[in-house]
Assembly symmetry: C2
């Protein structure tokens, strides 16, 4: 299949790699649109949510009638593309993509949404052999899944980044935490995260929590995050 991917950010670059074994793929710069091809069956717009409409408007007149235009956003609805043709869809790969980090695409679930059975069949055909599960999700549920992925990946990674910065400042090696982080993740295979919860807040260990708050009092960002998340844990895990 002839596929144009518009947008060479983290997602676009990885989609090109994922598709390139099985399809004739071209990666297009979303600002210049240089090299956009006429006869492609599928145009994948992979740009930040703020820019999807603009890119769709720019390519709409250039693509042949019958070609399919999709975006890759977790949060933007299928409807966003509805003024740019009737053959529209969404391909949302649920993963954290960094250009320099290789991935095994066969482990990644892709969520699709389609304006018609025909579009659905083409998207499934494009994805066959490229990724892990292909699952259908409507725009509303895709947004909910995206919110959960922000909590589970982006915010989690940011907490590690804050911990890294804090320990660097104290002259302690962040890598000392790796076995802990690895086990925190591995435990998900054994227990629900609710049942896995450990630490001072789940024990309602006020002495420790107060000492931590005191040590963080000159760091506004960490103080607020520490208090809010400790309170949330204490509220969800009332004393037995």
């Amino acid at each position: 299949m002839k596929i144009d991917i518009i947008g060479n950010g983290n997602v676009g670059v990885h989609l090109e790699r994922a598709f390139s074994n099985l399809h004739e793929v071209k990666l297009i710069n979303s600002r210049t649109l240089e090299g956009l091809r006429d006869g492609s069956e599928l145009y994948i717009i992979s740009v930040s949510d703020n820019a999807i409409s603009e890119v769709a408007a720019s390519i709409f007149h250039a693509v042949e009638k019958g070609a399919i235009i999709v975006h890759t956003s977790g949060t933007m609805p299928l409807d966003l593309l509805s003024e740019y043709g009737s053959n529209i869809g969404v391909i949302y790969p649920l993963q954290t993509f960094s250009k320099n980090v290789e991935l095994d695409y066969s482990e990644i679930p892709f969520f699709i949404e389609s304006s018609s059975r025909n579009v659905n069949a083409v998207l499934r055909s494009a994805l066959k052999g490229v990724c892990g599960n292909v699952l259908e999700l409507d725009s509303n549920q895709r947004c909910e899944l995206h919110i959960a992925s922000v909590l589970s990946c982006n915010f989690v990674n940011h907490l590690w980044s804050l911990a890294n910065e804090y320990l660097d400042d104290k002259g302690i090696d962040f890598k000392l935490l790796y076995p802990l982080i690895k086990e925190t993740c591995r435990k998900l295979n054994r227990l629900s995260p609710f049942d896995s919860q450990t630490g001072p807040a789940v024990r309602h260990d006020s002495k420790t929590i107060n000492k931590h708050k005191d040590k963080l009092k000159d760091n506004k960002d960490l103080s607020m995050i520490y208090s809010l998340l400790s309170d949330s844990i204490e509220n969800k895990h009332t004393i037995v």
Copy 2:
């Protein structure tokens, strides 16, 4: 070595398992102290931080002169035990312990602090062959490491728990996020968490952030956490 572990919570139970291959260990209920032994060389108090002093006071007169008393707290200082003898120390295993989840103790770093060279030698001898690295850390730095571990493990796990609860409520399977969570963790081996950051906040993607906030507006806990962590990411990652 004859070792009594006082406290059969998550940490105490795991320490008993870790030590039992090489030492003569007994696990003691911290409330009854039933079965506390006279001639042990090492007494490990493994109870919540609020209760350490009380347990130390209770066992102090029962143990033989020369025996070593340690606690396992990340946050409480060595000094906490100073009124209970001169042979005191801390053994802080940096891991998340749940009774029902088995661990490979050889991967876990243990941080020790000692009131004397002699105590240090005994603690090192007790830990030899039991765990991974044995490292020295003073009370102040141990508390800083503990704070970072709360951010990196306890808060991270709680975010997963909140995501799980949110998706359950929407009828979406939380397990769909496992490949994402696994990769989020695996990326730490390739990039610093700062360089790994992905998601709407690091892109300053206001359209998506606002849509997520709107969808979360009836969930006070998630709304506050979403806003605070998104703001923190945006502040740390200014636009290039």
